[in-house]
Structures are given as structure tokens and as C-alpha cells.
Subunit: 373 residues, 2 copies
Amino acid sequence: MTSKYYMPTRVISGSDCISNSSELFKTLGKTALIVTGAHSAKDNGSEKDVRMALESVGISYLLFDKVKSNPSVACVKEGAEVARQNGVDFIIAIGGGSPMDAGKAIALLATQDIDEAELFSGNYKASALSVACVPTTAGTGSEVTQYSILTNDKAQTKTSIASECLFPAVAFLDPKYMGNLPVGTTVNTTVDAFSHAVEGMLSVRASFVSNTLAAESISQIMECIPELLKAVAAGTHAIDPRCRKTLLQASMLGGMVIAQTGTTAVHAMGYSLTYFKDIDHGRANGLLLAEYLRLVEREQPELSGRILKVMKLSSVNQFRKLMDGLLGVKEAISAEEIRQYSALAIKTKNIANCTFKLKEEDLIRIFEASFAG
Amino acid sequence: MTSKYYMPTRVISGSDCISNSSELFKTLGKTALIVTGAHSAKDNGSEKDVRMALESVGISYLLFDKVKSNPSVACVKEGAEVARQNGVDFIIAIGGGSPMDAGKAIALLATQDIDEAELFSGNYKASALSVACVPTTAGTGSEVTQYSILTNDKAQTKTSIASECLFPAVAFLDPKYMGNLPVGTTVNTTVDAFSHAVEGMLSVRASFVSNTLAAESISQIMECIPELLKAVAAGTHAIDPRCRKTLLQASMLGGMVIAQTGTTAVHAMGYSLTYFKDIDHGRANGLLLAEYLRLVEREQPELSGRILKVMKLSSVNQFRKLMDGLLGVKEAISAEEIRQYSALAIKTKNIANCTFKLKEEDLIRIFEASFAG
């Protein structure tokens, strides 16, 4: 079988990497649109660092700080309009997955008119403004992927736009912006990154490169889990800065993985939990991951065994306990909801990424087992 | 400290990956120059596969099959002239490190006149034709690096041209072309790849990404060494095809590593062994690697310990024995030669990549110990 690797984003990592590498912005253009949410990039200092770097190299910029969680098509169309009207050359997206995914979609829509149906069906030219990403959570990996995930109201889910033109030109990874993240956000984003790495190993597109990166991502996250469990127990946002750095690296590696492999059933099912029940995206994946791994163990024990070995765990039950410890009390879900979400998930393209054939009943059983106990 | 990762080459791997992905050539242009050596690409079937793929998608091509080992500036100037005169859009380099490095230099020189001194000093525009690479040995990793290493007669060594515009657009990794490689070539190229991965971990530019890739490369090569030792003992070219595949993957990972880290003292010193004594490039590195690691152990035992752990070895002596077993009887070297080579190596930029300050006496001691016993 032919395997493929491609990830052309330049990744700059380390403390103060934005100010240390401000010259890089000059390679992207003369006028930037900063795309972010209303508050966090202001509070954590990342927006200020970007502004100062741009000013130091004489790049003018505008701010579009209207991105909310799970961005809508309306939001990115509005951002694209701002970009177009102001002759913006490139986008700088700052934040978690939502601003970064919005920033990429804005970069695409700024160069061409695409209606909603065509956007989700992939019917557009591979042309977009350049994007620089500054992740301020350690989860999505969007800073190194070709995906922009938007709310798709027609399909009642979140849908991934995928085009190689959406790979960011540059990603700046500085853990200092994550120092004050609430513990719930830290856990949910960590679990998202974890899910990317694990699902990457469970994808039919897994390759020797993606498996190498995924195994490292999983190992790095496993190292940080005791620290996270302590923070959860203490209800504190304070986490060892070395652990913050490790998590940011691991989430970037997870992004490099899914850029090759895509995601699997876990993401397909998790999207419903986010769309209908407003459960955070990372948490939604985390709630389902152990029970999907249990199904893999039944179908392909060698594969699940390899992943458990990387985690240094001896059973899926051990993994389930670990995730339960991180995620705490679970939401209620009805049998009717489970049927509805399973029917939606079985139709998604992520399901085709799984290494064995899944049936709707399999998804129902995963939902049931995940929310039980 | 700021760390960087960038490797924009698309890597396609697997049996028959050239014919399975022939459409990709269309993204590179309409007329290709195939750059290769006189014989091996014809004998191993790779040149034919490339020709057939090009014909299947209607791309015209010319052949430049004059590349010899350790290519000269004259050779690449001649190739560039052919490319220019025939309005070639892109280069397809097939072979080991020499044709791939020559192909990249031809891609550069086809777009601009650069005299020899400027070529080696980096004084040129970052503009080159696109390059596709087909490695037919598992060693150089050139298919995923920005380097072209040419013989530099003025400096009496091999010198690396480095420019991001030299990253190949595509690399095709098909182990079937390596089935008939002589055992000596297999060993020397494996040792070259091994050296890239180890030197990557010993570079001041090592990062979490490069270390991840390097550790995997080292592990994969270590898995194949028993098979290589068997082939050396039996004097046969026949090697388990799974091992061929693993070695090709490992050498590509090694290339991804040195694209980030560069090489260190080992390559700096090895270039003299190749330039003056005509010792194969990979073998030259292999002869020196263990004794450089011994010096690292004295200066930074934590670092050498980490590498030995990845190798699953307990001492530098064990590693030295392993390399001695692979490399067999060593060439003679005089005290005068050692002094000359050390004086040249200490001035190279690779030395600045080492994680501690090296003195000329250190290099002398490494040469002496490497060729003793």
C-alpha cells in the first residue's frame, strides 16, 4: 500500500518565539488580519506579542476578535469580508482550535466566494491567503493541519474543510500563553490531543511517520497525566510549566499525525455530543476513546495492544479508569439521543478511516458503555 | 531557546509508488530532466518506472546520466546547461546521494548562473527548478533535505550547499530498487543513515521533533543490524525485503532529522576520508561515529546515555564492536594524514553544530582511536 507524508508548515517553538522570529512575518505580506476570540488572547499576552512583533517589522494589521467556540459559517464569512475590504495579505490566527480554524476558513474565503454547500463539499479552488497560527491551548493541533472545522447546521454536526492550501505557513508554539488556562480547559484540550494521536494509530492511513509521531505524542501526554490529575483534584489551574511545554509539543505532534491520517469513529461520534449537547470538543472525544479502543481490541487486538504498550498500560480497563479520572462526572444521555447520534456518525467520512468495518450498532454500544458508570 | 521544524517535501512510500502516483509529476511541469548515474538506475528498474510514469501522463523528458560518486561542480554545471538548453521545467533525480545531490544543484544552476565560489558561500537567489527524488539506496536521506553536497576542490573537501529552495517537491520511496545492492553498499549506506540519526541527536539544533524522528530511525536500523551482519558474514547481497523497507524508511527519517539539525564533527571529519582517501562517505562516517560518541560520553554523559538507551546498548564499547563488525578491516591512516584532516575539519561549520566546544586535539584523538585495532 502507498503511504503519504506531507506537512509543509514551518514550526517555531520556544519561549518568546514570536518576538524572536518577527522577521518571519515579513515573508507573509504587508497587511495582516489578526483573527481571535474576544478575551483570551488579550488576557494571556499573545495578542500583544503579535502586535508588537508586527509593529517591529512595519506590518500594518487589523483585528477581527469575534470568533466564538465552534465557529459558524456566518462568522468566517464576516471575517473574510473584513479581510477583503481592507486588502489584507495574510491572516494571523491566535487562540484554541476555534480561532485557528476560523482563521484558515477566512483565509480561504478572502480569496474566493464559496457558498456554504460548496464549502462543505470541497468544491473550490485550492487558493487561500497565508496563515500564521499561534495556539494558546494544547489540543487541536490545527496549527499544523490542512483542516478547518466549522459548525455545519444543515448536516447538524461539525464538518471539516480539508485543503492543502489551508496548511498554515508558520506556527508559533510558546507555552507561556497557557499559564492561566482553567484546569477544565487544560484537561479537555489534552484529551483532544491524546485522541488525535491515538486515532492516528487507529486510522487506515497510519504510516511509519505518523505512527512515530503519534507514539511520541502519546508518551509525552502520559508523562503529564499525573500532574493533570493532581490539578483536577486540587481544582487549580496551576500546572508545572515543563508540563505545559510538553503538552504543547504533544498536541502539535498530534496535529502532524492527523494531517496524515485524519480522525476516526471517535471524532465522528464526538461531533454530535458537541453539536447537540454542547459538550466541549476534546471532552467529547475523551468520553468515547476508551470504549472505541475496547472495540478495536475485540477486532484487532494486535493494534490496540501496540497502543496500550506505548501508553505503558496493560489493559483497556486501566485506560478507561485513567480517562474517567480526568473527565469526572459524565453528562446524561438518553437512548434516543444515542440512536440519533449513531445514525449521524455512521454516515461520516471519518468512519471510513477506521481499520475495520463499523456498524451502527457498534456506535450505539460505544455510546452506551462510554456514558455508563 | 527557539527550535525550528520545516520539511515541506511530499513523501510517497510503498511498492510501485511511482506508477501509482504518476499524476503527481503533472504538478511539477511539462518537461523533465532525469538525472542519474550511468548504470544502477537502469539495472534496478527505477529509471524505467520513471519513464513509464512520465509517458503515462504525457510529460516529455531527457536523460542526463553522467553523475559519478561525489559529484563535481563541473558535472552539475553541465547538467544545468542541458536543462537550460532544453527548456526543462523540473528535475527527477534517481539514485543514491550523488545523483540526488547533483539533481538538486542542477535545479539551482538551471535558473541562475552562479560561479563556484558563490555556490559554496551561499551567495545566490533562493530559486530552483522543482525536484522529484527517487532514492535507490537507503542512506543519504537527500530526498527530504535542503542540502546538495558537492566536491569542493578549492577547500579540498565535500561542501554542503544548503537552501530551502532545494527541498525536493516529492520523494518516492520504493524498496524494490534496492534488492540487488551489493552488501558493501548496503552496509555503507545504512551506516550513513545511522550517522545522520545519531548526529542529529548530538546537534545543538536538536529539537523534540528531530529527536523523535532520530530515535525511531536508530531503533529501526538497530532492528536490521543482525540481518546485515549475517549478509556481511555470508558475503551475499540478499537481505530480507522487510529489512530493505525498514532501512529505506529509517534513512528517510534520518534525512528529516538532518534537515533540522545538520551534521556534526563526524561528517566534518569523514569528508576528508572521502576526499583524500576515497573512502565511501557512509563508511567514513561509520568509522568515526563510535569514537565521537565516546568523547560525548566524557563531556555530556547524559546525552550519550540517551542515545545508547535508544540503541538498547549499555556502553560505547558495545557500540564500537557493533560498528567494527559491520565495517570489517580498516584502511591505514598516517599520523600526518590525521593532522591534516583534523586541521581541515576543525574549521568546518559542522563543528559549530556540536553540543560542546571541540579542539583540534579532540579530532586527532578520534581519528587515532577510530583507526586503531
